[in-house]
């Protein structure tokens, strides 16, 4: 991205202070969001989300594996993000690794629970096949195709849409096996179980520029931020995860205020996202 001049920087900060951003939006308005599902037929589920010029694809692939010894009744989920050099030439080779790692760990914080597996936004117990022996491993891969700010929200939305599009094949377990043997499983090609995504949270990032917070920052606005707080909230209004980025310290009262703003804004995002996902699924069914 080309550097901004002093005048341009003041213009962005001043606009945000007056609730009129460079592209005409108000502080708490998102850019138009487009969702397409089923873009990668080879994957179990996939979705593409566009917020303005930010374009990301998320895909879900399911493989059979062993559950971990500490949580034998839960499946496993791994989230990995890759930044494509088509988004920024600097992402070529290992250039995008830092951003990819930051996004991957942020998504893991927001969507998956703590080390004990408690409080996960995604319900892992629906992924188990034979308790203690066989479970589904979900590999969620995010790909950033075009970057214009607010990657975390777009990736969160894409993952939610991809999960709603995911079909896990039903598995028939063969007759009783000895307790320390792997049971034989037969993966059906015909029947699929739709993944339940009503509990999956949505990530809202609030970027603080000067004294005010904005939602859905573009790359230019992000360059002027002092700090950003990303909060994942589910339909019940519970907070599933939170990350603060940026070097400037925040007063605790500011953070509490940001949480209540995020609560309000995420309602709109969730409704918009649910209607877009439903429309995308309907389009897919028709074609």
């Amino acid at each position: 991205m080309v550097g901004l001049s002093e005048g341009e920087q003041e213009f962005i900060k001043g606009g945000i202070a007056q609730d009129l951003r460079s592209d005409g939006r108000k502080r708490y308005t998102y850019r138009p969001i487009y969702v397409e599902t089923g873009v990668i037929p080879q994957a179990n589920g996939s979705a593409r989300v566009r917020m303005g010029s930010t374009d990301v694809i998320a895909s879900v692939k399911a493989e059979l594996g062993r559950p971990s010894a500490m949580q034998p009744d839960k499946g496993k989920v791994a989230i990995f993000v890759d930044c494509s050099p088509t988004a920024e030439p600097t992402f070529e080779g290992r250039g995008g690794e830092e951003l990819s790692a930051e996004l991957s760990s942020a998504l893991q914080h927001c969507l998956l629970g703590g080390k004990s597996g408690a409080g996960a936004g995604i319900d892992l117990s629906s992924l188990v096949v034979v308790e203690g022996k066989v479970c589904w491993d979900l590999y969620i891969d995010g790909l950033v195709i075009s970057s214009d700010g607010n990657l975390l929200d777009a990736l969160g939305a894409a993952i939610k849409a991809a999960l709603s599009n995911t079909g896990i094949p039903s598995v028939h377990v063969a007759a009783e096996a000895a307790s320390d043997e792997q049971p034989e499983v037969d993966i059906s090609d015909e029947e699929f179980l739709q993944f339940d995504t009503s509990g999956v949270p949505v990530i809202t990032t609030l970027t603080k520029v000067g004294k005010h917070y904005i939602v859905d920052a573009t790359l230019e606005e992000e360059s002027q931020m002092s700090s950003a707080v990303s909060i994942s909230i589910n339909r019940q209004g519970h907070i599933c995860g939170m990350i603060k980025r940026g070097g400037v310290g925040l007063d605790p009262s500011v953070i509490l205020d940001m949480i209540s703003v995020a609560n309000f804004v995420s309602r709109q995002l969730m409704d918009k996202l649910d209607s877009e996902i439903a429309a995308a699924d309907a389009d897919e069914d028709e074609s």
């Binding site: 080879q42 694809i57 895909s59 494509s84 050099p85 088509t86 891969d141 790909l143």
Partner: protein
């Protein structure tokens, strides 16, 4: 290549051998036809992102690179189009998909400059008798010419739209 592009998920999306090989092939093919002497002291970066690999990946990459270069207005000797062909059950087949490619028959990838009628890329794996090879290569070249016609139509359509938008 993306993590999810192949049937079994790839662990490391960058720097794996297949990506490096396809990158090298694209670079050599494009270097032959871009008029680099018209742009001294500059570097052209071509980034190709594979979303799904289902046979004919390097051909799709070359065709995409050609379209992107034309869209960018980079001066080239001619467009480069590419297509693959194979030979299964005593029949030459055009544009193999992943299943057909894994059947063990030969896979010939050809890249041509259609107007100048010159071959810039020719790769083959597995064995093929020489006269059958000629048939398969001819088929691939015809495939390339068909792709070239389609690409030219798309580029013409794009230019007409640009003309409209500029009010010409």
């Amino acid at each position: 290549m993306a993590n999810f592009s192949t049937g079994d998920r790839m662990r490391k999306p960058k720097g794996d051998r297949r990506s490096t090989e396809i990158s090298l092939v694209i670079r050599q093919t494009m270097e032959a036809c871009i008029l680099t002497h018209l742009m001294p002291r500059s570097q052209i970066d071509i980034f190709v992102q594979v979303l799904q690999a289902d046979g004919g990946t390097r051909s799709a990459c070359i065709n995409a690179a050609t379209l992107a270069l034309q869209d960018a207005g980079i001066p080239m000797r001619d467009i480069v189009t590419s297509c693959s062909a194979g030979y299964l059950n005593s029949t030459p087949l055009l544009d193999l998909n992943y299943v057909e490619d894994s059947a063990g028959g030969p896979d010939v990838t050809v890249g041509i400059l259609p107007t100048l009628d010159k071959v810039t890329l020719l790769q083959m794996d597995a064995k093929l008798p020489t006269n059958t090879f000629e048939d398969v290569m001819q088929l691939a070249i015809e495939g390339c010419k068909a792709v070239a016609n389609y690409i030219r139509e798309v580029l013409l359509e794009n230019t007409k739209q640009l003309e409209c938008r500029r009010g010409l």
